[in-house]
Symmetry: C2
Subunit: 119 residues, 2 copies
């Protein structure tokens, strides 16, 4: 059992939209990701997804509105709800979601990461 | 769906060892708690438990060692592992654990909180 220092983990990678596994808890993974730019619209059929901003600012778009998340703020996107993460500048995000969750949800495209790395 | 500002939530309560529900995700709750002093030795039979330090310093004792967690650090205590949280000074902690988790695990005593409040 080891502790995880979130800021140190973010020094280990620089790619965007490619979540890394930083912990395993029950049926879920704790993931760390850097986002920059616009992601695709998608939803997850069976999984709620938590986004906690560690650094920077994340705009989460929904079909009927948007939520701007700053450092120390999180949102839980319920299963079935379409969303599109947008980061004007680089943002560091802690994600919590079931192990079965695919980053692009119901969409499979060039941003899909089927096999996640651990850090 | 609303965002949660962690620091603002911590302004809403002052009691120790009484986790509040700040979010619901799949079969788990995201909880916020203030700790000060020594908690009881306990374990959770079927649940892994995540402790993320938001502010302050948390010492997690195990039967064979200890881990000191500072701001921005987390540990996931696997099911079955005995642990005892200790906070010399007040510490603010984000917990993630299944909805079934009792704060005192296999121990039921005066620190047990059977019914959690939401904030």
């Amino acid at each position: 059992m080891e502790k995880v220092n979130i800021h140190e983990k973010f020094l280990l990678f620089n790619d965007y939209w490619n979540p890394k596994i930083a912990g395993e808890i029950n049926d879920s993974f704790v993931k760390l990701a850097k986002f920059k730019g616009e992601f695709v619209w998608h939803h997850h059929e069976h999984e709620d997804e938590m986004f906690l901003v560690i650094k920077g600012e994340l705009l989460m778009r929904f079909r009927d509105g948007e939520i701007c998340l700053k450092e120390g703020e999180f949102v839980i996107v319920p299963r079935g709800v379409e969303h599109k993460p947008v980061a004007k500048d680089e943002v560091h995000v802690l994600l919590l979601e079931p192990k079965t969750t695919l980053n692009t949800g119901n969409q499979v495209n060039e941003k899909t990461v089927a096999k996640l790395q651990s850090i």
